[in-house]
Amino acid sequence: MKRFIHILLLAFIMVPNFIQAQENAGAPTKIWSYPVIYKYDEEVTWFFDLSATTFAETEDLYLWIWSPSEPDAGNWENSSDFAKLHYEGNKVWSFKLTPTVYFSKSAEDIAASAGFWFRLKDKTGTKQSDVSNVAYTPFADFATSNELIRAYPPAPTLTGGLSILFNANLQPGFEDATSVHFHSGLNNWDLKVEYQAWLPEIVEKTQLKNLGGGIYKMDLIPSVYYNAPDGYVMENLVFLMVKDDWAGTTPDQVINAAEYIPPPPPKFMFFPTQISKRDFLGIIRTNNESNVNKLIYTITASDVVITGEFSGGVSEIKGFVDLVTKLQNVNVTEIHVNVVDNNGRVITDTNILLKPLD
């Protein structure tokens, strides 16, 4: 008995060693799906942000999932191609599936299961992520909630996914609809995608998915759907649902965007405050708009013209101009400085006095 206990103890001590033989890559920072909400028999893409893991960028990664079933069972050391993730960039990988198909289970069986439990791994299983779970958002209660419209998330963002549910049973006249369309715009119709029933591609783009039972769903990413320019600020989404070829509509609807925190205002400055012709002139702009990444300068000192440009990003664009060399043999007391951004907008157009040196 005593010997048996010893063996058992030894075995337990050894267990962690076997586990550690595999490199643990860490846990996904964030997991999300598109569409935001989906039925188990709908196609969905899961996204995994692995920026905090030790998986290398563009590395071939595989889904190792055992709940609700284990499609790639027995292949830990050689994952199948069907379990391979797609690399999206920025250490984000994705996996496209239709749950009922991938797990060979009915929607009811999946709903009754423990959920989607998985690890992400390299092909041979030498590296693996922590055990994680893809959260699922059930929405069956919507049909009986007496709500006409419900949005996921309730306050959307410009670049995030958005699912809008519509209960046609609550809108008189929609009973016999053959299709329902989304007539909508961002920021009170500033950027709009109208339901132009005579354009086939618009008919398709604006059409809601019929989930059955009078329930419809619209899935979109606002920035993509409305082709929003860089730096666009989303305040709200206004829309109405349209039956067939404008046979009926819902009242106007509005969904307010997630609380938007305006960035600090841009700040332009020269460095230093006072300058002589034997100094370097710093040109600095911070808190740049997202579409500003370059400052182009033209400095005129008597008949000498100095031009150039500095690149940077939102946080800062900064560079120094060598007046020391350029104005070495020029007799000037003032320079004219013109700075424009990459969009041709004038940032400054001013004269700077050059301090005489003692």
Binding site: P272, I275, F280, K355, D358
Partner: protein, 172 residues
């Protein structure tokens, strides 16, 4: 009688004190700043300071130029003659002429000032040292770490408005 013996002992002991000669060692001249500064120096760091912003306590008051305008290749060599007296200096590394890139030099003092004021390195364009081009302030004197800091200060109307801080280390 007893008193006399005490006097005698006292006299002898005084003699013994008087004969004691202190051993001060041999006289050695103190090391001058010329000797410490002479040689070739490479750049560790170059900062540009906005003295106006600094005085007003506004930011930014400082910018790092160490990697701009070839300053990562900046070297300055101070030469002395056989008597350890300053002769010529030269800047290499193809940098902009913030101060004259070569010429002659001298010091405002052979030793550090007791009042803490930085010793000046005067730069001249002629060997007679009559035509001053620039001056550098010796902000930190080379010691056992073989590092020194030179400041080039731009002054207008007696007021400093910009300075350049060269942090240097000795090359061999």
């Amino acid at each position: 009688m007893r008193c006399k013996i005490i006097y005698l002992l006292a006299m002898i002991s005084l003699l013994a004190v008087g004969c004691n000669e202190a051993d001060d060692g041999h006289h050695v001249d103190p090391i001058t700043l010329n000797e410490k500064i002479q040689g070739e120096w490479g750049l560790m760091n170059l900062k540009m300071v906005d003295e106006v912003a600094k005085a007003a306590k506004t930011e930014p008051s400082e910018q790092d130029l160490s990697t701009l305008f070839n300053y990562d290749n900046f070297r300055i060599k101070f030469n002395v003659n056989e008597n350890n007296q300053p002769t010529t200096y030269e800047v290499t590394g193809n940098v902009p002429p913030l101060f004259a890139l070569n010429g002659y030099w001298s010091l405002s003092s052979d030793f550090q000032q007791a009042n803490g004021e930085a010793v000046r390195i005067y730069l001249y364009s002629d060997a007679e040292k009559t035509m001053k081009t620039d001056e550098l302030r010796l902000a930190s004197v080379p010691g056992s770490n073989e590092e020194m800091e030179l400041h080039l200060v731009r002054v207008s109307g007696g007021i400093a408005f910009v300075s350049y801080k060269f942090k240097l280390n000795a090359i061999n």
